[in-house]
């Protein structure tokens, strides 16, 4: 743990050193990517829902889909992609020094990161928050009833800090039982080593699904922290930033317009809705400003699907999904009361 923190501080120093210097290549990432023929997209060590390896060795997940969307927008091929798995200590260094073109991994958008590390965050593609899991038969229904409880938590992240803050603010005298590995944390909880587990609600939903009897456990309604998870690019390259940002917006906009992977061909050929026609490149010249082909958004939807489809596949009830309810959450479309909102594409 000490080692990890040490490494993290070395990495942060390195990032700061780089960000103060101007990176010559930062001006034209899009040109570099086009010349290279593929996008170098950074994810982290496998994390359920966001980026995983399947038994065939392929990457899948919500953040991987963002990488694939960007690759589709530029090359029309979701496979024109090199997925790099980078440890969380090295993630921002690896972006800043030009190893990665794009960072698409559960990174929380915070002010320090956005303003001091030489990177720019894009609009969040998932809103997460910290919560508690307890056993149903414990009778606890609110986090306020956790007074004096032992709570299992992983170290080295803000999770532990948030828990301590929460305990102090509400005078609950919670004792932290800390772990490096979340599998061990869950095992301890299952064997009765602690009364509750705390972590990001999204990952806890997945974890509960992997418990022997999922119905014996539940997530408490309280949310301890705001965790807007967003992709990031190097600071100062607006052209590249636009490409990535509008690839993500295209996913959300497509869902709003009802364009899916299945009907995108039909929509492009027959739709009379001007919004759809503009987005899919049938009329107008939206693509000019991005420096991409007219069918960039069509390729995204054709290869990856819209945001709703991606969510269903990896976060929702799909075969590879971790089963998080979307309706009523922050991740629903704005038309359904959520925060997923794309500026108009016109």
């Amino acid at each position: 743990m000490k080692l990890t923190t040490g490494l993290a501080s070395v990495a942060t120093l390195a990032v700061m050193a780089v960000s103060s210097a101007t990176i010559a290549s930062a001006q034209d990432t899009l040109e570099i990517v086009k010349e290279r023929g593929h996008v170098r997209c950074q994810v982290g060590p496998p994390s359920p829902g966001y980026y995983n390896l399947d038994a065939e060795g392929n990457w899948y997940g919500l953040d991987v889909a963002v990488c694939q969307a960007v690759a589709s927008a530029i090359f029309g091929d979701a496979g024109a992609l090199e997925i790099q798995s980078v440890s969380s200590q090295a993630r921002f260094t690896s972006l800043a020094n030009g190893d990665s073109d794009l960072l698409s991994r559960t990174a929380t958008w915070t002010m320090t990161r956005d303003t001091q590390l030489g990177i720019d965050f894009l609009s969040p593609n998932f809103y997460d928050g910290q919560g508690f899991t307890v056993r149903v038969d414990s009778g606890i229904t609110s986090a306020m009833e956790l007074a004096g409880a032992k709570v299992c938590v992983t170290t080295g992240t803000t999770t532990e800090l948030n828990l301590t803050d929460f305990s102090r603010v509400n005078d609950l005298d919670i004792s932290n039982v800390t772990f490096e590995d979340y599998n061990v944390r869950d095992d301890t909880y299952l064997n009765g080593g602690c009364d509750a587990v705390t972590g990001d609600k999204s990952s806890m939903a997945g974890n509960i699904a992997s418990f022997p009897v999922p119905a014996d456990h539940m997530i408490l309604p309280e949310t301890l922290s705001k965790e807007p998870l967003a992709a990031a690019v190097r600071h100062g390259d607006s052209q590249w930033r636009d490409v990535v940002q509008w690839s993500i917006f295209a996913l959300i906009n497509a869902e709003e317009l009802g364009i899916t992977m299945a009907n995108v061909d039909d929509m492009r050929a027959n739709s009379t809705n001007p919004n759809v026609r503009r987005m899919l490149g049938v009329e107008g010249n939206l693509h000019d400003g991005l420096g991409l082909e007219a069918d960039w958004a069509y390729n995204i939807i054709k290869n990856v699907g819209n945001y709703g489809e991606i969510y269903e596949a990896y976060m929702g009830g799909g075969e590879q999904g971790i089963g998080i309810e979307r309706a009523g959450s922050l991740n629903a479309l704005w038309t359904d009361g959520g925060l997923m909102y794309s500026p108009p594409m016109r």
Binding site: A11, A24, N52, L53, E56, G57, A90, N183, D186
Partner: protein, 442 residues
């Protein structure tokens, strides 16, 4: 009256209490009431452990399932090996394209075949065989695994490797069946056995040249599909990193150790400084510096891939440890040996190569093998910097949605794999020690 038998009494077997299993048990396990109690108690503990492991790992375990939920449906308390089995390809080959896996197997097969003659008493030219394994095989295997366009240098090295392999195999066959080296066999075949040394050498060189040109032309029409290093992983990656580490850290270590004992101040100070710096830093720090800090100091656009950076870091790190082992071995050789070598007119390299090093290396075997085993296990650290080596793959199973949370079984499987590899290495080193010290037993 003296009772003297002239006949020797017939030999009788040792009393049954000495030889039978029961006798042994009585002597070693049940010699007193207290020891009997201890034995029974220990047996009980062993029984508890083994039966628990057996029930969890075999009796209650699930071997065939599509996801972890099915394992639970089968048994809530047993192991779920199905997840490990479903991930076998990932565990052994990483993300290597499934259609191309034969290339890895073929590469391994080549290596085994290439090294097999080293264990055959009848085959000649073992030093040369060993040298080609270290010097040429990596190029052939490297291309086989990575594929893509061959540069001129690679074309030459690959052709040389193929020719060397063919010669090696031919040499093995002639050694086994005719009991002669390939060179003698070919000379005889060409009817030049009575010719002068020079003619014979020219005939052999000519044959080698023809073979090389033929192979060179043949390989130009053959390319393997490119497989990027990011798709390498699993046990394969672990073996590649540690294989290169092992093959280069020993020569590197020997050079560094000689440098440290050198009489030339610059060489000595540089070697000492290098060794001390790398030895005082943890491997994970070296790896981390190599992969994140190194690119910062490189000219714009210069990209060395992460695998190469990692391998360089592992080699340098282990060469330093190896250097100290070699230095210890060198110091154990009495000064009289090198003085003796000087009196018969050997220079520095002659003394080291023929007199000192062979004796020293023999003493170093246990330490060298210990270091190699350590190296193999150290390579698991690369999973921290994002390479999917064996450990990285095993840990990823618990994140794959169908097998979410499945982490004990993969790690146990990994432990068994590592045990098999490391234990066979240590057994082999023991065998090597006995064989090499045969001269000391009288």
């Amino acid at each position: 009256m003296a009772i003297v038998t002239k006949e020797k009494t017939a030999e009788r077997p040792a009393p049954i209490s000495e030889t039978s299993v029961f006798g042994w048990m009585r002597k070693n396990l049940f010699s007193s009431a207290f020891n009997t109690l201890l034995t029974l108690f220990t047996l009980y503990i062993v029984y508890l452990t083994l039966s628990g492991v057996f029930t969890w790992g075999i009796v209650d375990a699930t071997f065939i399932a599509d996801n972890r939920r099915e394992c639970y449906d089968n048994s809530l308390t047993g192991a779920c090996w199905a997840g490990v089995i479903a991930w076998f390809d990932n565990i052994f080959y990483g993300r290597y394209p499934r259609d191309e896996i034969w290339r890895i197997n073929f590469g391994l097969f080549l290596l085994v075949l290439w090294m097999a003659p080293l264990w055959m008493a009848k085959v000649r030219g073992k030093v040369l065989i060993g040298a080609t394994v270290v010097g040429l095989y990596p190029f052939l295997a490297g291309y086989l695994f990575a594929g893509g366009d061959k540069g001129l240098f690679m074309q030459v090295m690959i052709s040389a490797a193929i020719v060397a392999f063919a010669i090696n195999m031919g040499n093995m066959l002639t050694g086994l069946f005719k009991n002669v080296g390939l060179n003698t066999f070919l000379i005889n075949l060409a009817g030049q056995s009575k010719a002068s040394d020079k003619t014979r050498r020219n005939v052999l060189l000519g044959m080698f040249g023809i073979a090389f040109v033929a192979v060179y032309i043949w390989q130009m029409g053959w390319t393997a599909e490119r497989v990027g290093w990011t798709r390498w992983g699993g046990l394969f990656l672990t073996l590649v990193i540690s294989g290169i580490g092992i093959a280069s850290s020993l020569p590197g270590g020997i050079l560094l150790a000689l440098g440290r004992r050198s009489k030339l101040p610059v060489v000595r100070i540089l070697s000492t400084g290098f060794i001390e710096v790398f030895r005082s830093v943890p491997l994970i720090t070296v790896l981390f510096m190599a992969t994140t800090m190194f690119p910062l100091f490189m000219p714009e656009g210069f990209v060395l891939n992460k695998l190469v950076q990692v391998i360089i870091a592992v080699v340098l790190f282990n060469a330093c440890y190896m250097a100290e082992i070699v230095r210890a071995g060198l110091q154990a050789i009495p000064k009289g040996q090198s003085e003796g070598a000087h009196t018969i007119g050997l220079g520095y390299w002659g003394t080291m190569g023929l007199i000192v090093m062979p004796q020293a290396l023999k003493h170093m075997i246990p330490n060298i093998v210990g270091n190699i085993i350590g190296l193999l296990k150290d390579t698991t650290l690369v999973s921290i910097i994002g390479l999917f080596d064996l450990l990285g793959m095993l840990r990823s199973i618990s994140k794959d949605v169908p097998w979410l949370g499945l982490h004990k079984e993969p790690l146990i499987f990994g432990a068994i794999l590592f045990f098999i590899i490391c234990f066979s290495m240590s057994k082999y080193s023991r065998h090597l020690e006995v064989k090499l010290s045969a001269g000391e037993k009288h």
